[in-house]
């Protein structure tokens, strides 16, 4: 305790020091010293230069490696040499060119350098001279290092920078610098074709270090410097800006505040422990310490609230309000972590208060008159139901304000924290309910009063809180289940362990039901409101984006006018489109620029088919005009909002711009398209809905599918159509599809019916959810309990672990679980392979179809003309629409056509196919190859199949999705079924193990228990074992041993008694013999004097009588000494708490007898201080306990109660043993009276004498067959 206090004091002092540091140090360390900041900037500039230099030195190293490798693998070819470079293929590459400048082979991230290598010019010259270059290509900048390998040139590449015009959460920008250098560092790269003479002059004047002026008066200067290649040409210019003093101060302060908060947290926890202990142990200052404990707990919770707002914590997902947050007192539930902390603090406070009020809760209390008892019960019942209601409201708020589906299990920290919070709240509620339940039965004359009051309270709440009636439907069964469990425990029908197990099961069941109800309500609300709004607003957004984009085109009409005149037209549409709002949100759209003759001069489209050319149908319009169009592509209707405007010069038409925005359903953010290229550019996603397994379909007015991404077979039931078409707000409808019931929310819009459907749960789903919750809560309760037991009751745990029976059970479970675990792993792996094959087969079939179409096309061309042209993009688009998958077509490794040309034009995808794939198709005869690709954060697969046309080799590449999401989606149901089957399997094994284990372990336990009882002195025990096996022999042997022991004890007692008598007789004889001799001699002397008559008889008589009297006195003294010796030793009484004496006396019995006899203790809250001799009192109590124990032949119970009663300590020991008849009862305190064959009859007389020596009294009541009650009263010390 003293050590703890010292640690607390130290941590409190440390907290103060850290607080001072947080207030003062940042100001001192982050002073706006310009010279210091400039030095820091120069250091950073040098670090950037070093890193850049490292790049080309690495390339130089690779050149040497390549030269060595080329010699070593001459026979295997150049590709093998490239492989030896061990390239990081996402950012490094190597491309080998022949003497004719033709690309031969390549590996990794490379550009198609053929134009550079084949065309004479500065690039060709630099490459010939073997000098490094910086090359810009669409979205990337590369550094190129030319290397000669024999007659060939290998260009080694290293990516410096990547940033596409498309923005999406999946696409990541790349910068070669390490993250620590990126902050405050802007780099502009310069292609080798740029004229950099101006930069050269500036940097020559400023010695490669230009100081930019600060933008504000408190700002700091920036440092601009060039990054140069080995030949001193400028590769990039870098602008470094220093963080401002305030930002530096804020960061430093946050760091110190973090340390301060952690230190305060430590001292608060220590203070809680100290106060908690004091409150429990010191009754005089309990009120104050309890108040302080609760105050510190509140302060600790508040501290966490502050702590969670520090940047370091704020960025953690567990502190994200997007995962869970709802309004409560002071934002205590603003994130999953905050909810967990609040719930744990509540649980701690409840546990602390329950510990303090333990005595009050457990004692039955004095009986009250029934009106008072009724009022008390009614208040307690109302409060209990109110608490249940509050819990339900918290549960509802948690579900409605969380983006996690609490029944879709995951290992995310937030998910676990939310469930642990709910469990902590449920335990707090259970504690409060238990307390209130005890309060309601306290003082009640019987069960009817609390029961009636509970029903009354439920009725009152149901009437006044009608909206929460449903809550009561859940709460009342829960309450009833807990009452039944408590009753079963009180009456001894269920043991504590089983009650806890069943309580965990009841809580899990309750939570599973409550979660299902609330999640169902939430999902329905989500569908009926949020998702419906999302669908309805799609057109609004399209219209808005179109208006904004048209305005942008107006502002940039110079570009258009130039295009109309026919100059710089090739990418005008792309450049203009890139500036529109539609482009910034990656909206499926197209911009077409037409000349005065109506010919398209420039066009750019994002996922809009090239065949979509609405211009012909649009009337001339000098202002922007918006038209809604529905076009059919390959049997599928697509809707567009089209804006067009004609430009005139006077009366002369210059040209037209047509901007079209698609109203494609795939753009809806809640749909997962399973199309890699589409998902890659998705700007607005709703990740929380991925867990919802939501279905979506669009129907025409006859109930037929217009859009059916979930591949339903049956359309809407015809009989429901009129009702659905007339209900604007939408309605729920059910129908059967492929044997399963679909429940969909349908609403009409734009002359169609939109349907959103939620999965319906089967019984297996519900059972699996319950089991998962049960396991989770079991683990959450079991692990801390095990940890607590390990920390606080080590010897018992050691015994538990060493227990033979537990090892038997554990062996059975391990034998069962290991194969199950292996089965689960292999099953998952097996199904992953199965699904992979399924996905690949589908892609292979699509690729084969594509190949056939293309081959037919090329064959027809060969028939008609001599020169074969590659398949046009329109054909590829048609194939793509037909198979519902994107298609890329490569010729000799270079892209020819694609259904998503924009991906290649914008530099997201390379125009060269993967070098290794190309090499394998060149050298091996694979029919197809699959490959995993990763773009930023998005991973997908491609399947490539080759076919030959003339001397060219064509490759068809199909991207298809196959990642964890697809596997999880496909395997979820299967895994759930397996889990359920596994749970049954484990339960069956556990049951079997228990049954089999019982056959072995139970007899051993009986023997162990018998041995322990014998060690306590119970020789009346006799064990029984029915089966006629080896165990029976052992039992008979044990019983014979006990009988023999009893006999020997009797003989020993008799012999000891005889020996004691003999010894006593010898001592008495010896002591008595000594005085007898002088008496005899005196008597003889007197007789002789009398017979002689010579001497003075009177004198002789006087002398002899004096001798005899003296010796008789000696004899009396000897007798007194023997008497003293036979008496018990005197009592050594000291003030002590009788409850503690009882606890110490009971401890060994409680440990040993748990299997056969339950010992229940019920001690009052106040100490029972008496003047007692601990050892003597324990001896007396032990005598009563042994008698009670011997009176119980099988299972039974011994109840020990102790409490204060009118200046006396009342102790009651009650057993459920055989009891005594009145004629036996009246003799039990007589010495040597015993009903037991081997009893000495001294135990109870001695015990009675000890109690009486303590100034107390004893009373025994008994009834044959009902048991015995011993009542002891001891005087309390007066206060």
């Amino acid at each position: 305790m003293k050590k703890l206090r010292a640690v607390w004091a130290a941590s409190a002092v440390l907290s103060l020091i850290l607080l001072a540091a947080a207030l003062w140090l940042p100001r001192l360390t982050a002073s706006p010293d310009q010279a210091r900041n400039l030095a820091l900037l120069r250091d950073k500039a040098e670090a950037v230069r070093q890193e850049f230099r490292g790049l080309w030195e690495d390339l130089k190293q690779k050149e040497s490696t390549l030269a060595a490798a080329a010699g070593a693998v001459k026979e295997e070819g150049l590709f093998a040499a490239l492989q030896k470079l061990n390239l990081r293929r996402e950012i490094e590459g190597a491309a080998a060119f022949g003497q004719n400048g033709r690309l031969k082979t390549w590996l990794g991230n490379v550009l198609n350098f053929e134009p550079l290598v084949q065309t004479p010019g500065p690039g060709r010259t630099l490459i010939d001279k073997g000098r490094p270059l910086i090359v810009a290509d669409k979205a990337s900048f590369f550094i190129i290092w030319p290397a000669k390998v024999g007659q060939d040139t290998v260009l080694l590449t290293r990516l410096l920078y990547f940033r596409t015009q498309f923005r999406s959460p999946y696409l990541l920008d790349y910068q070669f610098l390490k993250p620590s250098l990126r902050s405050g560092c802007d780099i502009d790269y310069w292609d080798f074709r740029e004229d950099l003479a101006g930069f050269e002059r500036i940097f020559a004047r400023h010695k490669d270090e230009y100081l930019g002026q600060p933008r504000t008066s408190v700002g700091l200067p920036s440092l601009i410097f060039p990054l140069r290649l080995e030949d001193r040409t400028i590769a990039a210019t870098v602008t470094l800006s220093a963080p401002t003093a305030t930002a530096g101060q804020a960061r430093a302060r946050e760091k110190w505040l973090l340390f301060f908060s952690l230190s305060v947290f430590l001292s608060a926890v220590l203070l809680l422990i100290l106060l908690g202990r004091a409150a429990v142990r010191d009754s005089r200052r309990r009120t104050l310490t309890s108040f302080l404990f609760l105050l510190v707990l509140v302060a600790l919770r508040w501290l966490f609230l502050v702590l969670s707002q520090l940047g370091v914590f704020e960025s953690l997902p567990i502190f994200s309000p997007a995962l869970l947050s709802f309004r409560s007192l002071s934002g205590l539930t603003r994130s999953p972590a905050d909810l967990a902390l609040t719930a744990f603090c509540l649980l701690l406070a409840a546990a602390f208060l329950a510990r303090l009020g333990r005595g009050f809760i457990l004692n039955p209390g004095k009986p009250l008159p029934w009106p008072a008892a009724g009022l008390l019960s009614l208040a307690a019942s109302t409060l209990a139901l109110g608490l249940l209601l509050m819990f339900q409201m918290a549960l509802q708020a948690t579900i409605f304000n969380s983006n996690l589906s609490l029944l879709r299990f995951s290992f995310s920290a937030s998910f676990l924290l939310i469930h642990l919070s709910l469990l902590a709240l449920a335990l707090t509620l259970a504690l409060a309910l238990f307390w209130l339940f005890r309060l309601s039965v306290r003082g009640s004359p019987g069960w009817p009063v609390p029961a009636v009051c509970l029903a009354l309270a439920a009725a009152i709440l149901a009437i006044f809180l009608r909206p929460f009636e449903a809550v009561l439907h859940l709460a009342l069964p829960l309450l009833t289940a807990f009452l039944l469990l408590w009753a079963a425990f009180q009456t001894g029908r269920l043991r504590a362990g089983r009650v806890l197990f069943l309580a965990a099961a009841v809580i899990s069941l309750f939570m599973a039901v409550a979660l299902n109800i609330h999640i169902g309500q939430r999902n329905r609300s989500l569908v009926e409101n949020t998702l419906k709004d999302t669908i309805l607003s799609q057109e609004d957004w399209a219209s808005f984006f179109l208006q904004e984009s048209m305005e942008t085109i107006n502002q940039n009409q110079d570009l258009l006018l130039t295009a109309f005149k026919g100059s710089q037209i090739s990418d005008t549409a792309q450049r203009l489109w890139g500036r529109t709002l539609a482009a910034r949100f990656n909206w499926y759209s197209s911009l077409e620029i037409l000349n005065s003759g109506g010919e398209t001069v420039s066009r750019f489209a994002l996922n809009v088919p090239r065949s979509f050319k609405p211009s012909a149908d649009l009337a001339p319009s000098p202002e922007w005009t918006v038209t809604a169009l529905t076009v059919t592509f390959i049997g599928r209707e697509k809707e567009f909002l089209v804006g067009h405007r004609d430009w005139y010069e006077g009366q002369k038409l210059l040209g037209r711009a047509v901007l079209s925005l698609s109203l494609d359903y795939e753009l809806l953010p809640f749909l997962y398209s399973a199309n890699p290229y589409f998902e890659l550019l998705r700007v607005h996603s709703l990740p929380s809905l991925e867990q919802l397994e939501l279905g979506f379909a669009v129907f025409d007015q006859e109930g037929k599918f217009l859009f059916n991404p979930n591949h339903l077979a049956a359309g809407l039931p015809v009989r429901s159509l009129p009702r659905l078409l007339n209900e604007r707000d939408g309605q729920w409808v059910r129908w059967k599809d492929k044997g399963r019931t679909i429940s969909a929310f349908c609403f009409p819009h734009r002359g169609r019916l939109f349907g959103l459907f939620l999965p319906r749960k089967t019984l297996i789903n519900l059972a699996a959810e319950f089991l998962k919750l049960f396991f989770l809560y079991g683990l959450a309760l079991g692990l801390p309990a095990l940890l607590g037991a390990l920390l606080f009751t080590r010897p018992r745990i050691r015994t538990f672990l060493k227990s033979f029976s537990n090892r038997v059970y554990a062996s059975f479970l391990v034998i069962a679980l290991v194969p199950l675990l292996l089965l689960t792993i292999f099953t998952r792996s097996y199904f992953t392979r199965v699904f992979t094959r399924q996905f690949t087969r589908a892609a292979e079939a699509d690729a084969a179809f594509t190949r056939n179409v293309l081959q037919d096309f090329l064959f027809l061309q060969q028939e008609e003309r001599s020169v074969v042209i590659p398949p046009p993009e329109d054909l590829v688009l048609w194939i793509s629409a037909a198979i519902g998958n994107d298609v890329n077509l490569y010729q000799d490794g270079r892209l020819v056509s694609s259904s998503r040309r924009e991906f290649f034009d914008s530099g997201i995808l390379p125009e060269l196919m993967d070098g290794e794939l190309h090499h394998r198709f060149q050298t091996e005869s694979d029919l197809f190859l699959t490959q995993r690709l990763k773009m930023g954060r998005y991973a997908f697969y491609t399947l490539t199949i080759p076919f030959t046309v003339g001397s060219s080799k064509l490759y068809i590449s199909l991207p298809f999705p196959f990642e964890q999401q697809e596997i999880a989606g496909a395997a979820a149901g299967l895994i759930e079924f397996l889990l359920l089957a596994s749970a049954f399997f484990v339960a069956a094994v556990a049951f079997f193990a228990r049954g089999l284990g019982s056959a072995i372990v139970t007899p051993i336990r009986k023997l162990l228990s018998g041995t322990r009882e014998v060690s306590l002195g119970n020789l009346e025990i006799s064990l029984h074992h029915k089966p006629d096996d080896e165990m029976k022999t052992l039992f008979l042997g044990f019983n014979a041993m006990v009988r023999s022991l009893k006999q020997h004890q009797q003989e020993l007692a008799e012999m000891s008694q005889k020996a004691a008598w003999a010894e006593m007789a010898r001592k008495v004889a010896h002591e008595v013999k000594n005085p007898l001799t002088p008496i005899q001699l005196s008597a003889e002397h007197l007789l002789r004097v009398y017979e002689d008559g010579k001497t003075d008889f009177a004198q002789a008589l006087q002398q002899s009588v004096s001798y005899i009297t003296g010796e008789v006195e000696n004899l009396r003294k000897i007798a007194q000494e023997f008497l003293e010796m036979s008496r018990e030793s005197a009592l050594h009484r000291e003030p002590d708490d009788v409850r503690k004496v009882l606890e110490e006396t009971l401890a060994p019995y409680r440990r040993i007898l748990t299997d056969r006899i339950t010992i229940r203790e019920s001690f009052g809250p106040e100490p029972l201080r008496c003047l007692v001799d601990r050892s003597k009192l324990k001896m007396a109590l032990r005598n009563f306990l042994i008698n009670a124990l011997e009176a119980i032949s099988g299972r039974g119970e011994i109840a020990v109660r102790a409490e204060g009663r009118e200046n006396q300590a009342l102790i009651e020991i009650q057993d459920t043993g055989s009891g005594m008849a009145p004629d036996v009862l009246q003799h039990i305190f007589e010495p040597h009276f015993s009903t037991k064959p081997l009893g000495t009859g001294l135990g109870l007389p001695i015990a009675k004498k000890i109690i009486e020596d303590h100034g107390g009294s004893i009373r025994v009541t008994s009834e044959p067959g009902r048991g015995t009650l011993v009542t002891i009263l001891l005087p309390l010390i007066e206060k």
């Binding site: 959460p169 930002a247 609004d540």
Partner: protein
Amino acid sequence: MAHIGLSVVSLLLSLLSAAAIDVESSFLENRPDLLLFHLSSRSGISLSLPEPVSFSDQISPEQSYFLFQGILARFLTQEFFSESDLPAWLDKDRLILKARWSFRDNKTNNQYAFRLFILFKLEKQPAQSSGRSAGGRDSTKRSNPWKIIEIKAEKI
């Protein structure tokens, strides 16, 4: 009859104007409670905010409140103004307002600007009880039927 229709439209437009002012105030005065008040109690809100906020999902009004509380605590608003004029006539129950929001990251001192696109929806029956009350609501605000159901943003 036409007179009544005009009055209703005028009232709705003035309420929309009040809602736009509240949104502006919530950013300028760092008061997410003003924003919460204009979120629908029946529907979740879809948010799509690019870097440095980086958030895209649908969340409940209460989650939005805490999310914006965190955003406004970290990113100090430097300017916020509406870039689109309020409509002169109502032909739909949905409207998108455009606003420019410039802010400074308290952590890094970097400055950013977003263009916000806020989709308002005219809710037929304003919710009388939205579960929990937000501080500072008055009766006029409680009856405002214009609710934000979606916010998109682009970095400029």
